[in-house]
Amino acid sequence: MSASDDLKDLYQEVVLEHSKRPRNYRVVEGATAEAAGHNPLCGDQLVVTLKVEGGVIKDVAFQGQGCAISKASASLMTGAVKDRTRAEAEDLFERVHKLVTEGPESVDVDALGKLAVLSGVSEFPARVKCASLAWHTLRAALEGHGEAVSTE
């Protein structure tokens, strides 16, 4: 695969669009949980806020600064985990993590819906942390420990 094809896979239209106009870029009103995430390598920082009722994520949002990949991943995540149970969100993270580290052959890509656009990250090992930051932060919020998480 040429260098340029790799780049097109990484910066797919949907990724660029989500990074420029992230969904759920706000603070959840009446949030029941929140966590801050930090990638010391590049200075990316974001805060995920959640409203969990009866074990289901009723609302989820994020705010912060970061590269196109971390913002797009956060934006796509908020869409993907809404109305899911904690266990479902956790399972989704496992599969997304596999997708961005091991590539599209390692998971059922179709079952991931829009998140499949993150598959290009697997060709860029240095960018896995960017794609994972929001998810690590979500997990910290769900587990309810108030400490900031770090990708280091």
């Binding site: 260098a3 780049l7 910066y11 660029l16 590049c42 200075g43 990316d44 960017c130």
Partner: protein
């Protein structure tokens, strides 16, 4: 420029002659670490093939040769920075260790609760954190000389910040994040007028222009081998002899003592007092080879090349739409830190990498100065004696490609 031909220089650096990602390598990250000429690589190999042994202790021929090579390297460093005496040259792991050494020996002895340590807003973390730690240990207070929007120090603020409680001024010679050349000679003059000793972080300076520690007048000068085309894991703390002699030891161990009983230890004289354990012999040998390489080229010639290329690159980058330079000091070294439209530096770095171009992206271990410019990170291209106008042209072409991806 007699004796300096960049195309000849490039031939001395084998690593530059390769393709990465299907394209010729363009290395613009020398401020992070510089590449090594064949002369340095050969010196390391030769040392292990012919001369390796422990120093300062053996009676055998190899130990004599190794000691000669190690102490010869000390003399080579002395000549390079024009110190009075080779005893003023302490070998350490790098700039970071040099500054920690001063903070934990000079600092622990002379700096106490309520005293002040003066640094600047544009320091590398290596010249912030050791002082922050000292302040936490002693109750001293950290004071900071501000920078302006060009990335120059606000010199008008300096005299008021040098108070009767100031115990040391620790300042960079060249900002690694902005390229600003700091007038350390003038700052030293002002600090000394108030009896304040001065430490200079020279990691980004010694590689770009001649440095004369006697002319600067500073008390301490720290730099790393790997940024000046030598090996990693070796660096230098220069200290005026009377300062070093008044300082307690740093780490304890062999080589730094004269005699040891279970009741009493007598410490060795300087510089050995600060070099506990078997030193980095190959590092010192490689550093000396790097210095001889630079001396053969001529540091004035290196400085002229870097200056000319910086001017060319500054102009070339200004032609890229949406590019904003971070750090526009009037006196600059060969560092170009910038933001490209609203593209995050990490994304810039990834796309450039696919074009075979190596730059640094991030906060450059200088978060306080990033905070001043209200950016979390920048893209940084840094130039060295082996870079060419063609390298700069390749960078500019690749930045246009970034804009295409993100338009």
């Amino acid at each position: 420029m007699s004796g300096f031909d960049v195309n000849q220089v490039r031939k001395d650096f084998p690593i530059l002659h390769q393709e990465v990602r299907g394209r010729p390598l363009v290395y613009l990250d020398s401020a992070a670490t510089a590449q090594k000429p064949q002369a340095v690589i050969d010196a390391l190999v030769r040392f292990y093939q012919h001369d390796n042994a422990n120093v300062h202790r053996g009676v055998h021929v190899l130990s004599e040769r190794a000691t000669e090579a190690y102490e010869g390297a000390r003399e080579t460093v002395r000549r390079f920075i024009n110190a009075r005496d080779a005893k003023e040259v302490v070998f350490v792991r790098g700039t970071t260790e040099a500054i920690n050494l001063v903070a934990q020996t000079y600092g622990r002895k002379h700096i106490g609760a309520g005293d002040e340590v003066l640094i600047t807003q544009m320091e590398h973390h290596a010249n912030i954190v050791p002082w922050r730690m000292l302040c936490e240990q002693t109750g001293a207070v950290l004071k900071v000389i501000p920078v302006d929007d060009r990335g120059e120090l606000v010199l008008d603020a300096v005299d008021a910040l040098l108070t009767e409680r100031t115990r040391i001024l620790a300042v960079t010679h060249v900002s690694n994040a902005l390229g600003t050349v700091v007038p350390v000679k003038e700052l030293t003059r002002r600090a000394h007028a108030k009896g304040v000793p001065v430490l200079v972080d020279g990691a980004q300076a010694v590689t770009h222009f001649p440095v004369d520690v006697q002319d600067l007048g500073c008390d301490f000068y720290a730099f790393s081998g790997h940024k000046m085309f030598g090996p990693t894991g070796i660096g230098v703390l220069y200290g005026r002899k009377e300062r070093l002699e008044a300082m307690p030891p740093y780490q304890g161990g062999g080589d730094m003592i004269l005699s040891v009983t279970m009741e009493k230890v007598t410490y060795n004289r300087v510089p050995y007092r600060f070099e506990a354990g078997t030193p980095n012999l190959e590092g010192a040998v490689g550093l000396a080879a790097a210095i001889r390489y630079l001396e053969a080229l001529g540091m004035e010639n290196v400085a002229a090349h870097d200056r000319e290329l910086l001017a060319y690159a500054t102009k070339a980058l200004a032609s890229v739409p949406g590019l904003r330079m971070v750090g526009t000091a009037r006196e600059k070294s060969a560092v170009l830190s910038f933001m490209l439209a609203d593209v995050h530096p990490h994304d810039v770095g990834t796309i450039l990498d696919r074009e075979g171009i190596c730059i640094r992206t991030g906060h450059h271990c200088a978060q306080p100065v990033m905070q001043h410019f209200k950016v979390p990170a920048t893209s940084r291209a840094s130039l060295a004696l082996y870079n060419t106008r063609e390298d700069v042209d390749a960078l500019v072409r690749a930045l246009h490609k970034v804009l295409e991806v993100f338009q």
